[in-house]
């Protein structure tokens, strides 16, 4: 963008320079470029997980737009007349027939369709992994609570996009999924039958649902997702990204390569890599072979009927309920076999959403936090996360109970009973193990700071004793291990009216649970003391 020197006396600008001036004089873009162009962006592989989600979403948008030119979201009946022999003449909806045409009669159609579906699976997986990183590094703390809420909403919306998307072809597998949703909705008290009736436009399956899901899938949900992503990213820029503790990195700075050119190169290149990986998978691996499933009909069903992976935890929750959890009372049917999974999952979701606020309330820490935690330095948080992951994973595994049975030569009853135990007891076991591992790792860090790390050199002392020489850490390596903050349990104090409120007691109790077992970082004084003890 600099003026190119020329042989003429009058300064003639290069084309790029002229174009830039032209645009800037109409948009004030120079201001943006000055502000954002050389922003430092902290660089760590775990900070790229959100980008995996973002870029796979872009792939979804691009491939999805192509599909909308060919897919027809109508449930009008037609007799298939395309290339796939085992469905010729079969009666099916126009939605299914158009999807078959995309797959079998449009060159590159199947490639784009597969890339779209694989990208959707990757999108939700990346959001999940990204959320786990945010959780375990405490990046949801002030000022980033809103981004946690927005991000979690995006997770739910992404699952909704996926579900509405794979239900569009009106095939046997996704149709049975809709049937299950219909049964779920009908089981809800008071509003169930009417909600089902309005949703499907009458009796199940009706002829309205595919068109309605299409509106959600290509108009409403993407618009909301795009808007939320935009706010999410603006907030990241405003807050500046977090960074891990390292020499030179403090709460007051954000250190990293500048947006232009390095960060843009890495992010831009990463976009093409993700696109390429998805293209590779779509070229070689079948996904959602609707030609095998055939058109939706309420009578047939396939062995191995599961939803896409991100809905698995809900399907698994339904499978784990023991028999008989439903009764008639006051002339109404109370379906706890449906309500308990819904309420259980609802509570789980609420806890996930509320966690940043719960932790902030427990700690009472109102400062901004821009240094990401190492998971081991927040043992209770990490252990709670491990428990949550175990709970989710147990539900998720339950969705494939029949496939686990056939592939590992087990009984399906045994698999379900085992997973019931995993879901109930597993979180406690995972909590205990994770917490102890974190505290043990913190102790190890303390040991290394105080005594150095084992160098592998054995030295014989004059008195005949063998010792292993410990190499002390230099100040740069040491900083990583000592730069975190420990928290202590709250001491209960009466308030200005001399009362100890229930809220205070509760907060003290939770605070005790969180911080009773803690390892504080090594201080300068401790290190000197340990040195003087040795020498």
């Amino acid at each position: 963008m600099s003026t190119a020197p020329s042989t003429q006396v009058t300064q003639k600008r290069s084309f790029t320079a002229s174009a830039s001036v032209y645009v800037n004089e109409r948009t004030s873009l120079a201001g943006f470029v000055k502000e954002l162009g050389r922003k430092a962006f902290p660089d760590h592989w775990s900070f790229l997980l959100g980008e995996i989600a973002l870029f796979s979403f872009v792939v979804i948008l691009i491939s999805g737009t192509f599909l909308t030119f060919f897919f027809q979201a109508s449930q009008a009946e037609v007799h298939y007349d395309g290339s796939y022999v085992p469905l010729k003449g079969v009666e099916m909806s126009v939605a299914m027939a158009s999807t078959l045409d995309i797959s079998f009669d449009i060159r590159g159609g199947l490639f784009v369709r597969q890339m779209h579906h694989w990208a959707a699976l990757l999108f939700v997986a990346a959001i999940g992994l990204h959320m786990l990183r945010i959780f375990f590094t405490g990046a949801f703390r002030k000022p980033r609570e809103f981004n946690w809420l927005i991000g979690f909403t995006l997770f739910i919306l992404a699952m909704g996009e996926g579900f509405t998307g794979y239900s569009l072809p009106d095939d046997l597998l996704s149709g049975n999924g809709l049937r299950i949703i219909d049964g779920l909705v009908k089981g809800m008290p008071i509003i169930g039958t009417w909600t089902s009736f309005l949703l499907f436009g009458g009796e199940f399956p009706g002829t309205a649902i595919v068109g309605r899901l299409y509106t959600l899938h290509i108009l409403l949900l993407p618009a909301i997702i795009v808007a939320l992503i935009a706010i999410h990213l603006v907030l990241v820029v405003v807050h500046k990204h977090t960074q891990y503790a390292a020499p030179g990195k403090t709460q007051q700075n954000a250190v990293g390569p500048p947006i232009l050119p390095i960060y843009a190169a890495k992010a831009g290149g990463f976009f093409f890599i993700i696109f390429g990986v998805l293209a590779l998978i779509a070229s070689l691996f079948t996904i959602n072979p609707i030609w095998n499933y055939g058109p939706y009909d309420p009578s047939p069903v396939s062995a191995g009927t599961q939803p896409d992976w991100y809905i698995g935890f809900a399907d698994g929750a339904l499978r784990l309920i023991p028999p008989g959890w439903e009764f008639v009372w006051l002339d109404r049917t109370w379906s706890f076999n449906i309500l308990v999974p819904l309420i259980g999952i609802g509570i789980f979701i609420l806890l996930v959403v509320a966690y940043p606020f719960i932790e902030a309330w427990v700690k009472g820490d109102h400062r901004e936090h821009h240094i990401a935690d190492r998971p081991r330095n927040a043992p209770t948080r990490t252990a709670i996360g491990a428990a949550g992951v175990t709970f989710y994973a147990g539900l998720w595994a339950a969705a494939s109970s029949d496939i686990l049975a056939t592939h590992f030569s087990l009984t399906m009853e045994g698999v379900i009973h085992a997973l019931q135990a995993v879901v109930i007891i597993g979180p406690f076991v995972a909590y205990f193990i994770a917490k102890r591992v974190c505290i043990a790792l913190q102790k190890k860090d303390r040991e290394i700071v105080l005594h150095g790390y084992e160098s592998g050199r054995i030295v014989k002392l004059p008195g005949g004793e063998f010792i292993e020489v410990h190499q002390p850490l230099d100040e740069y390596d040491r900083w990583r291990l000592v730069s975190y903050e420990a928290y202590e349990p709250l001491m209960i104090r009466p308030n200005s009216r001399g009362k100890i409120t229930v809220g205070q007691r509760l907060r003290a109790g939770v605070s005790r649970w969180f911080f009773e077992d803690r390892i504080a970082p090594v201080t300068k004084g401790e290190l000197e003391a340990s040195h003087s003890a040795h020498h």
């Binding site: 590159g108 009736f197 009578s299 008639v328 901004e368």
Partner: protein
């Protein structure tokens, strides 16, 4: 050892320097040691091989533009594959080749670009790291005061707080105006139908013949041998012009024949079967999937969706899985030509449970 909430006190000594960002923010129960280590500052810069060795730099450059050339090759290949691997009608293999070759060309194009750009950034672009200064997110006190003044000025000038009747009636109007839109959603389903009514009746009626799914051909009792599983629809359903799937979603039936001695029937339902032939609704009472897996020897019916199991020998009661109610039984008989017929509709709503069902 418990700790006080450090509301505004003891902020002086800590080095993690939170206070510089928000001088009045409380650190809560954080343990701030007075002799904590200080940040040692940036470590010495370590140059890359491409910075020190011009040959390595040339090599990195070559790698980058080779990757870009490969990418161009991939794009050309994808275009060529579009033409070289057309789709022949009825030939599934042609579709597979088309998919694979266009896809692999696109893959090369994209990965070449991606790895090339990243390698350029990592190995060749100037190895610069910047340190931006963070400012309190809330802005300076002046900015916050100015914003507060904007709101208070506009409040004064509009009288929003002062004119309470104006304000409250506005709020009321804003709450009321979306309500017509909400009511419009009733139109999502037919105005002349009621959901519970629809759920309570199926296409089965007295004398309706049992017919094969999907052909609609009626069957005779003699056709049904021991160990058979017939998938059944009411006669006439296959010929329906409209509403076929909606009727099938309630009327699908599974017909099985057991040894009469193995069949354990309730006294008031002994006339519902015919010589060991029984008919049950195929729609699971859990959430509505077809309960279609019949095990001939164990007489178990298994639903593949959530693994509910029903025992046909014991009036399809639930023996495993999340379902509660047994499958509704269709009372059957034989007409004078030997065809199996229904004696009536089901005596209870079929399919998944719902609130109003009692």
């Amino acid at each position: 050892m418990a700790q006080d909430d450090h509301s505004g006190t003891e902020l002086a000594a800590a080095d993690s320097s939170h206070e510089a960002l928000a001088p009045t923010a409380s650190p809560g129960t954080a343990l701030i040691a007075s002799d904590a280590f200080e940040n040692p500052g940036f470590p010495p810069h370590r140059p890359r091989v491409t910075d020190e060795d011009p040959k390595k730099e040339k090599r990195a450059q070559r790698t980058v533009y080779t990757l870009f050339y490969l990418s161009i090759l991939g794009s050309v290949w994808a275009v060529a594959a579009y033409m070289l691997f057309p789709i022949e009608s009825n030939d599934v293999d042609a579709v597979r080749l088309n998919n694979m070759f266009i896809g692999l060309g696109a893959t090369l194009a994209l990965l070449g670009l991606g790895f090339g750009i990243v390698h350029w950034g990592k190995a060749l672009m100037a190895d610069v790291e910047l340190a931006d200064e963070r400012h309190p997110i809330g802005g300076s006190p002046e900015t916050q005061a100015a914003a507060a003044k904007v709101f208070s000025d506009s409040n004064e000038e509009s009288g929003f707080t002062r004119r309470s009747v104006v304000r409250n009636s506005l709020i009321g109007a804003l709450i009321a105006f979306p309500l017509p839109a909400v009511v419009l959603f009733r139109g999502f389903a037919p105005q002349d139908q009621l959901p519970v009514e629809l759920l309570s009746h199926t296409m089965w009626a007295k004398g309706t013949r049992l017919a094969l799914d999907p052909s609609g051909v009626p069957i005779k009792a003699a056709d049904v041998t021991i160990g058979s599983a017939f998938h059944i629809i009411p006669e006439g359903l296959a010929e329906l012009e409209h509403g076929k799937l909606e009727e099938k979603a309630k009327a699908a039936v599974l017909l099985m024949r057991l040894e009469p001695s193995e069949l354990n029937q309730a006294p008031d339902r002994e006339s519902w079967s015919y010589d060991g032939i029984v008919a049950y609704s195929k729609i699971c009472t859990h959430v509505g999937c077809p309960v279609a897996l019949y095990e001939q020897h164990t007489h178990h019916l298994l639903c593949p969706c959530h693994q509910s199991q029903f025992d046909v020998a014991n009036h399809c009661e639930v023996i495993f899985g999340p379902a509660k109610r047994p499958l509704p039984q269709l009372p059957i008989a034989v007409d004078d030509e030997g065809y199996l017929i229904a004696q009536s509709d089901f005596t209870e709503p079929v399919g998944p449970s719902f609130w109003e069902r009692s």
